[in-house]
């Protein structure tokens, strides 16, 4: 098991390296694109262009440029934006990270509880009315785009019904948990619900499918023949086996979201997290910022994938033999 973990982590590092090379090549080696102009931003003066060329070593061969880029990114951490002149990228990302973390964490707790509950209720009441009802709600929430839902929520809570139903709700923005936990939660309440809505649907549907599959397995029949109660069979046998899939799914979703995939939700609610930052970078075509955000996001996805693989081996003993 320990050797498996080591091997998995090494492989994660290699994947990160491959991603960094790919990102670098996309930004700096796409034919027909002048990297200097891209980095310097729109309407940059010739001196800026020359400065960029020197700083990023654009006259040097490709591998050297790559190393310089990585050096700026990781070691000196002084990658500077040219669009918002002088803003350092890395500190920006670091400052934005807790906001994204708060958003994703809270939403994850909500969607896990709702999703798993929904899946279990639907599977154990299979065929009765509540089963298709939950599945319908699930598919509805999956289909609603996050930005639309977010805007609608905003419209209702901040605008139309703000005075009547939601006077207690603050006007958007973010308050750190360290300064005021209650305000922190209040500010994040509707962003949490909006983000959780989408994922609850997916998880409820997936879990229901997995549970129904599991209940048809031979080992469930054995458990019943042992004289165990239906409840125990559902929770201790069927659910335990189905959770393996859910955990894998969750790991990847969580990793991607931490890395900034909740872009639209953050923008709609005015939360200046990593997703919001990426959005800013994209609209301003701020190349260093985009690079930084992409690497940040990629790092978390790779890490999450490695953790999920290791967790999978822990949850499903059959996998351990193969490793």
């Amino acid at each position: 098991m320990f050797r498996y973990i080591i091997r998995r982590l090494i492989s994660a590092v290699l994947v990160m390296f491959a991603i960094s090379v790919m990102v670098f090549l996309i930004f700096f080696a796409t034919p027909g694109v002048n990297p200097a102009a891209r980095i310097a931003g729109r309407s940059a003066s010739p001196e800026v262009l020359r400065h960029v060329s020197i700083e990023f070593g654009l006259d040097k061969p490709l591998p050297i440029r790559y190393l310089i880029m990585m050096y700026h990114l990781f070691i000196k951490q002084d990658l500077t934006s040219y669009v918002n002149i002088g803003d350092k990228i890395i500190p920006q990302i670091i400052a934005a990270a807790p906001i994204t973390l708060s958003l994703v964490f809270g939403a994850a707790v909500i969607w896990l509880i709702v999703g798993i509950l929904g899946g279990v209720v639907a599977a154990s009441n299979r065929g009765k009315f509540i089963d298709p009802l939950i599945m319908f709600i699930g598919i509805a929430t999956i289909s609603i785009p996050a930005y639309w839902l977010g805007e609608m929520v905003n419209l209702i809570t901040q605008d139309k019904l703000h005075a009547s139903l939601f006077p207690w709700l603050p006007n958007g923005g973010y308050v750190a948990i360290t300064s005021n936990p209650w305000q922190w939660a209040l500010h994040l309440l509707f962003p949490w619900l909006t983000l959780a809505a989408l994922y609850s649907g997916i998880y409820a549907r997936v879990l229901r499918g997995e549970l129904i599959n599991a209940m048809n397995e031979d080992y469930i029949r054995t458990a019943r023949a042992k004289g165990l109660s239906e409840r125990r069979i559902l929770y201790r046998h069927a659910l335990r086996c189905s959770l393996i899939t859910i955990v894998s799914l969750f790991g990847l979703d969580f990793g991607a979201l931490i890395g900034g995939a909740a872009l639209l939700t953050e923008v709609v609610f005015g939360l200046q997290g990593v997703g919001w930052l990426t959005y800013q970078g994209l609209t301003n075509l701020d190349l260093p910022l985009i690079m930084g955000c992409v690497m940040y996001g990629a790092f978390f996805v790779v890490l999450a994938s490695a953790v999920v693989d290791i967790l999978y081996a822990y949850l499903d003993p059959r996998v351990r033999i193969a490793t």
Binding site: T222, A225, D316
Partner: protein, 328 residues
């Protein structure tokens, strides 16, 4: 069991999986139920324990266990019967155990569900049980997962689980079908020894006459959900009365007769959707008569019953011809 009938309502019609099965199992007795696939043997046993959960099933009849009617009991009431008084082992040992828990955990689960034991006591008992079924090094194997055992070993674990609460009755649904022949012999041997030691009765379901000859005291031959022949194993195997049994026994390949074509029963097993009103086997029976349009009654002497209209004289005539031809 008396007159058990199990039918499923499907879109294609009513499937009569079991159509009037009655038998008794005495203490310490081994009853074998033999028949082709689809003869209803497994369904009969499952519905007895309430393991048939389909919404479209209809079960009638009476099943008494130690004087108590168990057909139609609520799930909660059945939970003490299942595993506690009636143990069951299934056909495919590879998928019979929950993959995410150790073998010891699963044994302890069953022990504690039916007995008032602490975890340590249950664990000790689990190790004893594993030793009893012949698992080597039980102290360390008790912490292993099912996939770390071979097929034969897993079946032994399943047997250990089924016998863990000293059930009065053990139902074995084709326990050796998925195993190779040597393992099969070992498992049957184990079951016989355990049966003597624990004093339980066994109902063994199989399609293999060899298994019947090996281990059964009494036999029921089933065809199309109906009993074709019931009797002591010696009688049914040495002097079978029903043409279907003749076919089954005759179909066993003989190692001592050279160059003999494999004998088969002509035709295909009747579909449970289209079981005829009369004798179910009539269409394939070489001795069919007009009277076979009526469903034969189960009759006979000396506890050896059969559902066939042939008289004893007719049977004698047919069998002596067959013997001289070398077909018996």
């Amino acid at each position: 069991m008396r007159d058990l009938k199990v039918s499923f309502s499907t879109r294609q019609g009513v499937v009569r999986a079991v159509d009037g099965l009655s038998f008794d199992v005495g203490a310490k007795e081994v009853l074998g139920i033999v028949g082709e696939s689809g003869s209803g043997k497994s369904v009969a046993m499952y519905s007895m324990l309430g393991l048939v959960r389909d919404a479209n099933v209809e079960i009638t009849g009476s099943v008494k266990f130690q004087g108590r009617e168990i057909l139609g009991l609520s799930d909660k009431e059945m939970q003490s019967v299942r595993g506690g008084e009636v143990g069951m082992i299934f056909q495919d040992p590879m998928t019979a155990l929950t993959p995410v828990y150790t073998v010891g955990w699963q044994l302890v689960e069953q022990l504690r569900a039916h007995n008032d034991m602490t975890k340590e006591q249950a664990r000790e008992r689990a190790i004893e049980l594993l030793a009893e079924v012949g698992i080597p090094d039980p102290k360390s194997r008790v912490n292993h997962y099912p996939h770390e055992f071979s097929g034969g070993m897993r079946q032994r674990v399943v047997i250990a689980m089924a016998l863990s609460c000293n059930p009065k009755l053990l139902i074995a649904d084709e326990p050796t079908t998925a195993l190779d022949v040597t393992t099969q012999a070992q498992i049957l041997d184990l079951m016989e020894r355990l049966q003597e030691r624990h004093g339980s009765s066994i109902v063994i379901i199989t399609h293999d006459m060899g298994v019947i000859a090996e281990i059964a005291d009494r036999v029921i031959v089933m065809y199309a959900g109906r009993p074709a022949e019931i009797g002591p194993e010696i009688d049914v195997v040495r002097s079978p009365r029903h043409p279907y049994t003749w076919g089954l026994l005759g179909a066993v390949p003989r190692a001592d007769v050279k160059n003999r074509r494999l004998v088969t029963i002509p035709g295909n097993a009747v579909s449970p959707l289209a079981v005829p009103e009369g004798c179910a086997f009539a269409a394939r029976c070489p001795h069919k008569m007009d009277i076979c349009d009526q469903r034969p009654v189960l009759r006979g002497a000396n506890n050896h019953l059969d559902a066939c209209w042939l008289t004893d004289e007719q049977r004698l005539a047919i069998r002596s011809v067959a013997t001289t031809r070398g077909e018996a």
